[in-house]
Amino acid sequence: QEALKELGKGEGELSIVAWAGYIERGDTDKNYDWVTGFEKETGCKVSVKTAATSDEMVALMNEGGFDLVTASGDASLRLVAGKRVQPINTDLIPSWKTVDKRLQDAPWYTVKGVHYGVPYVWGPNVLMYNTDVFKGKPPKSWNVVFEEMNLPDGKSNKGRVQAYDGPIHIADAANYLMFHKPELGIKSPYELNEDQYKAALDLLRVQRKLAGRYWHDAMIQVDDFKNEGVVASGSWPFQVNLLKSEKQPVASEFPEEGTTGWADTTMLHTESAHPNCAYMWMEHSLSAKVQGDVSAWFGANPSVAAACKGNELLTDEGCATNGYNDFDKIKFWRTPVAKCESQSECVPYHRWVSDYIGVIGGR
């Protein structure tokens, strides 16, 4: 499929598959609204379908009926391979040139030099913890969610930690092992041979004994921190910000092992019914104001450097807090494939899916 040659008039509608908190119209907090203005300006009425995992996003796009998706790195290339998204003509997006150079040709959305989207925001998976429990001794390592131990409040971490309910969490285990068991020779947490993979699963089995429940939905994790006595978990800055805004005793840490993370791309469906509105949104999404607002709201980093300065909501320290300068330490989500780069053969994603279900099920 060819990329769009020129822009026409808006079609009046636009539907987007997005992560929770990515597309806000002021419902939750009046100050966070980057949709209403866009609708007024372009006449494109925006509807949003939130998805909780990358797999869900791929499934929704496969099903069709949507224009745009804010796909993470573990979904984007699958969408390209499945011919669900179309090439983007960056010439039609004036703000393209303002995009962070680190992201402009990123491999998770650029195939053979063709861009299949525009970057949205990116960020790390942080370690969220309860400040009352950790009493001024923030956890420095992911070990609080991987190994049984007593927390600073004297009680065991058993039943009080959580992990992400998505197969990609295997990469977090691999990332932990990369640091603590260098002898396994893991080069990338997304490229694991059988032995490395098995070690990661073993680690996750230990974790299963510690975790009462896995978190699947950001909002439910927020609930669990409030009502279920959960005190530490891998999380997104979004939840951290939300809980802090409710005056809950939580904070987040960027542990010594480094973290996985996400760099999301706004991609356009092959059969989009509203391509003009979609291009208008992509342009809108790259404006420094929107980038700053999203970053502030979600706890992410903008893909446009200008957003780090002068945004009221993000403040001038915001980018630093959210890890803007740790770009290189973050291992962004990718889709594990059999033919991997770092070694001869890797365990492909479908095994991650079924094995992770097994691990959670107690296998």
Binding site: E228, V353, G361
Partner: protein, 317 residues
């Protein structure tokens, strides 16, 4: 009234469309039957069963792991996948849960149905009926969330038990392996309680109906022949109420078998069949595996319905 009427014994055919249609159908009862049955049969037999068969067909396809697109070639590999250890766990977990939920639903429902059928009269009968129907029709989702509040670690049950100095009881329960856990809301116990709560009302009405159909004189006959009330219950009342219990259990069993919302909200993240289907279909986009998973409840419920029909449970539905 005159003695002998002047009219003909056989009246001439009535003119008019209605009359002619009536005559036609009267003369061709099979056509009439066909006309009556066509709409429901087209709907249920073609649309519904057709969709079901099409779904089953999908289970013989496979999915491309990387792109998530269905590969339309006949294969049994999806069934191979269905039978891997993790998925078997899911099936066993779900079926056991459905069985236990059904058993306890029957145990809790029976006294209510029994009282309503045999002792409640007049106003009380209406109160019992409403008492069963209201929970049945009040929002399923909101009820589940109410239970989340009750069962949460820092929830209402804990609050009450703390007031009563009974927290040790809860802790003792939660420390039991398998059914225990960190809190009720992340344990099988919690999932079980909510399942029973939500589906149990479906059990009451069929049991009540079948109990009401037991003629009073059978109870008297039993007593007359020397049965104590307990013996009468065991030898007469219970066997005769059994079709009602089976009818009710069609609901409790099937609804538990397919639900994916309850175990996701109240549970330990271990999947149930409904969640697996939902995840494979919606999250992973693996329609063939989802379809293969649905075969499990279809087969189970097929057998169940067959047995229920033999027991005459359909009349009690």
């Amino acid at each position: 009234m005159s003695a002998i009427t002047g009219e003909q014994a056989i009246l001439i055919e009535k003119p008019g469309l209605a009359g002619r249609i009536s005559d036609f159908f009267w003369k061709h009862p099979h056509v009439f039957l066909a006309v009556m049955l066509a709409p429901p049969l087209l709907w249920l037999g073609i649309i519904y069963l057709g969709s079901l068969l099409a779904l089953l067909l999908q289970s013989f396809f496979s999915i491309d792991d990387y792109s998530g697109l269905v590969n339309y070639e006949f294969t049994l590999s999806t069934y191979g996948q269905l039978l891997n250890e993790a998925n078997l766990d899911i099936i066993i977990r779900t079926v056991s849960m459905a069985a236990i939920v059904t058993l306890f639903s029957a145990l809790i429902a029976f006294p209510i149905a029994y009282y309503a059928a045999r002792y409640a009269r007049g106003k009380w009968k209406a109160i019992f009926y409403l008492g069963v129907m209201l929970p049945l029709w009040s929002s399923y989702l909101v009820k589940i969330y109410a239970w989340k509040l009750i069962l949460a670690k820092e929830g209402i049950l804990t609050w009450f038990l703390a007031k009563l100095n009974l927290l040790w009881l809860l802790d003792a329960w939660l420390s039991i392996p398998v059914i225990g856990g960190n809190s009720l809301s992340v344990s099988y116990t919690g999932t079980f309680i909510v399942f029973v709560y939500v589906w149990m009302p479906f059990m009451i009405l069929p049991i009540q109906a079948s109990l009401e159909r037991v003629p009073a004189n059978l109870i008297e006959a039993s007593s007359d022949l020397g049965s104590t009330p307990q013996q009468t219950f065991r030898h007469v009342l219970f066997p005769l109420a059994l079709p009602g219990i089976v009818a009710g259990s069609i609901f409790t069993f099937s609804l538990t078998l397919g639900d994916y919302i309850i175990p996701q909200i109240i549970g330990s993240s271990r999947l149930f069949i409904g969640q697996a289907v939902y995840a494979q279909q919606g999250t992973a986009g693996n329609i063939p595996l989802a379809a293969a998973f649905t075969v499990v409840p279809i087969v189970i419920m097929g057998l169940y319905l067959w047995m229920a029909r033999k027991m005459g449970a359909f009349d009690a539905l």
